[in-house]
Each structure stands twice: as structure tokens, then as C-alpha cells.
């Protein structure tokens, strides 16, 4: 069920990523201030935006789960958060590399954008122990949904708070007051954002398909009354 359309989506993702990389290295002009290092922007910022939107999507799916009681939405919420945490790791590492190249420091503690993203990331890192600490599947799904909604609401609030904070160190991507991005850079950025979004969607679909296959296998095993194999016993959401 979840695997439907995965192949064309994967092909579209690979094509979009190839187009994005071509634009980044052969089309977008060099930044007058940062030079070649600014190419990290086309990787780091889309990853951050998609990761944050993924956290919000996890909260929206969690609302659907609490409203309907359908475990499918819990699986969507779990996988969205899981994928966004992976993207979050990439954001933190690429951001640290960019900071070192631009500012000479791997991390700047009094920069609100960096610290706020770290706070959001660490908050979602507690999602796993919180979830797996609960044995009962229904209770686990309900509590995880409440967590996802609360944390999901915190993400845009946190984003707005950071935008309102005055800082001259971290560049503002869409600061139009001083001209913003030139057209070539903006096009490259938007293609990169689209490609990253497609990658996130494909990986979410891939993970859901694997979870669905695993869940159906367990049901089949129970139906056949077959002895359990030595697979993982982690209490992850099951999807059918």
C-alpha cells in the first residue's frame, strides 16, 4: 500500500537532486562576500527548512491520530519525526562546517539561530526514549502523539522568536530589505529546497513501506502461529 508510487518518486528525487547539484556548482554565481564556501547554503538551509517542516508535519499527523484513533497516523507521525531527526543531524554537521569556514568557529553559542535549532533537535532526540519507555502500544501511541503536537507547535514559535531576535552574525536568507538573493541564487535555492523536500518524502515513504511489510509479516507469523525469529523486538509503531 505504502510502496505504491515509490519508484517514480525515487526517480524524480534523483533527477531533482542531480539538477540541484548542477545548478549549485555550474549556474549559481559565487557570493561576493563568502565566495565558494557559500555553496554550503544550498545544502544546509533546505535541509533545515525541510527538517523543521517535517517536525511540524509530525505534529499534524499526531493530531489526525488523536482525532481518529487510526494507528496509520501514528506511524506517519513517527516516521516524519524520525526522518527529520536524521535531517537535523545533517543540518548540525553542515552548519558547523559552514560556520568554521565562514566565522572560524565550529559553533557560536550566542547565535540564536544555531542554539534554537540545537534545542529543537535535542527536544526531538528525547522522543525515542520517551516513546520506547512505554510498553503498552495504545498508550505509547497516544503519549507520543501528545509529545509530537506539543513539540510541533513549539517549532514555528521558536522560529518566529529567532527571526525577531536581532543578530548580525547568522545571515537572514530571505532578508529582502537589503536586496535579498539575486534571481540565479534564488532559483538554485528553490530547486535545492524542492529536491530536499522530495528526498524527505521518498525516504518517509520508503520507511513506511518497510514498516508496513514488517507489520504484515508479524501478522502473518501470528496467523500461522509460527515461532518468532531472532529479529528486532523494539516497540515501534506497526502499520498494515
Amino acid at each position: 500500500m505504502y510502496g505504491k508510487g515509490l519508484k517514480p518518486l525515487s526517480i524524480a528525487t534523483v533527477a531533482a537532486l542531480a539538477l540541484s547539484l548542477s545548478l549549485v556548482f555550474f549556474y549559481a554565481p559565487l557570493d561576493a562576500d563568502q565566495g565558494f564556501v557559500q555553496k554550503i547554503f544550498y545544502l544546509h538551509v533546505p535541509l533545515a527548512i525541510v527538517a523543521l517542516l517535517g517536525f511540524v508535519a509530525g505534529g499534524v499527523f499526531a493530531i489526525a491520530h488523536l482525532r481518529s484513533g487510526d494507528s496509520k497516523w501514528d506511524a506517519y507521525s513517527y516516521v516524519s519525526i524520525h526522518m527529520s531527526v536524521i535531517f537535523g543531524v545533517a543540518v548540525l554537521i553542515t552548519g558547523a562546517i559552514w560556520a568554521k569556514a565562514s566565522w572560524g568557529h565550529w559553533w557560536v553559542w550566542d547565535e540564536p539561530t544555531l542554539v534554537s535549532f540545537l534545542i529543537v533537535f535535542l527536544m526531538y532526540a528525547t522522543y525515542y526514549p520517551f516513546r520506547y519507555a512505554i510498553e503498552d502500544r495504545d498508550r505509547q501511541a497516544r503519549y507520543a502523539s501528545v509529545f509530537a503536537i506539543t513539540a510541533g507547535a513549539f517549532v514555528p514559535l521558536n522560529f518566529m522568536a529567532v527571526r525577531m531576535a536581532e543578530s548580525l552574525v547568522h545571515p537572514r536568507t530571505f532578508a529582502t530589505a537589503e536586496g535579498g538573493l539575486p534571481a540565479e541564487m534564488m532559483l538554485t535555492f528553490l530547486v535545492s529546497l524542492g529536491a530536499t523536500g522530495l528526498l524527505w518524502t521518498t525516504l518517509v515513504k520508503f520507511e513506511l513501506t518497510a514498516k508496513s511489510a514488517s507489520g504484515q509479516l508479524k501478522r502473518l507469523r501470528r496467523a500461522l502461529d509460527a515461532p518468532p525469529s531472532g529479529g528486532s523486538s523494539r516497540v515501534a509503531p506497526e502499520v498494515s
Binding site: 557570493d31 562576500d33 563568502q34 565566495g35 565558494f36 564556501v37 555553496k39 554550503i40 545544502l43 544546509h44 535541509l47 536524521i86 543531524v89 545533517a90 554537521i93 553542515t94 562546517i97 559552514w98 568554521k100 569556514a101 565562514s102 566565522w103 572560524g104 557560536v108 550566542d110 547565535e111 548580525l168 552574525v169 528526498l199 525516504l203 520508503f206 520507511e207 518497510a210 511489510a213 514488517s214 509479516l217 502473518l220 507469523r221 500461522l224 509460527a226 525469529s229 529479529g231
Partner: protein, 77 residues
């Protein structure tokens, strides 16, 4: 002091900047490859379990078919 950082740090030369840009893109690629490798291992496990289940179901259905024969034999005796 930090406010002056962007002004104080001029654009890096290409050979220096290239290392950082390559590093960032390689980190991203490695993360994706590791994730895909983990998923591939999971799918292999699912495939193996499916084969085990198919074997189990076959053995059981063969056993069910073979089971009535001894009863029949004992009835004949």
C-alpha cells in the same frame, strides 16, 4: 566582537573553501548512504523471514496432508 566576524573573515580562497564545501556535501551523502544501507539490511531481514514463513507454511500443509494417512492405516489394521 562577534558582530565583526563576517567583516573580519574575508572569503576563503578556492582551494581552502573547496575542502569545507566538499566536506559538507560528503557528510550529507554519507548520511544518506548509511540510512539506505540500514534500510537495505532491514529489507533483507524481512525477505529472509518471509522465506522462513513460506517454508514453515509449506511444511505445515505437507504435514496436514500426510497426517490422515496413519489414521487410515491404523483403521485398516
Amino acid at each position: 566582537m562577534l558582530d565583526l566576524l563576517p567583516i573580519a573573515a574575508p572569503a576563503l580562497p578556492l582551494d581552502e573553501a573547496g575542502k569545507y564545501v566538499a566536506g559538507a556535501y560528503v557528510v550529507f551523502l554519507v548520511l544518506i548512504v548509511v540510512y539506505v544501507a540500514i534500510m537495505a539490511a532491514k529489507l533483507q531481514r524481512i525477505e529472509r523471514e518471509l522465506r522462513e514463513l513460506a517454508g514453515f507454511a509449506e511444511t505445515r500443509s505437507n504435514g496436514d496432508q500426510a497426517a490422515p494417512e496413519p489414521e487410515k492405516a491404523s483403521a485398516d489394521v
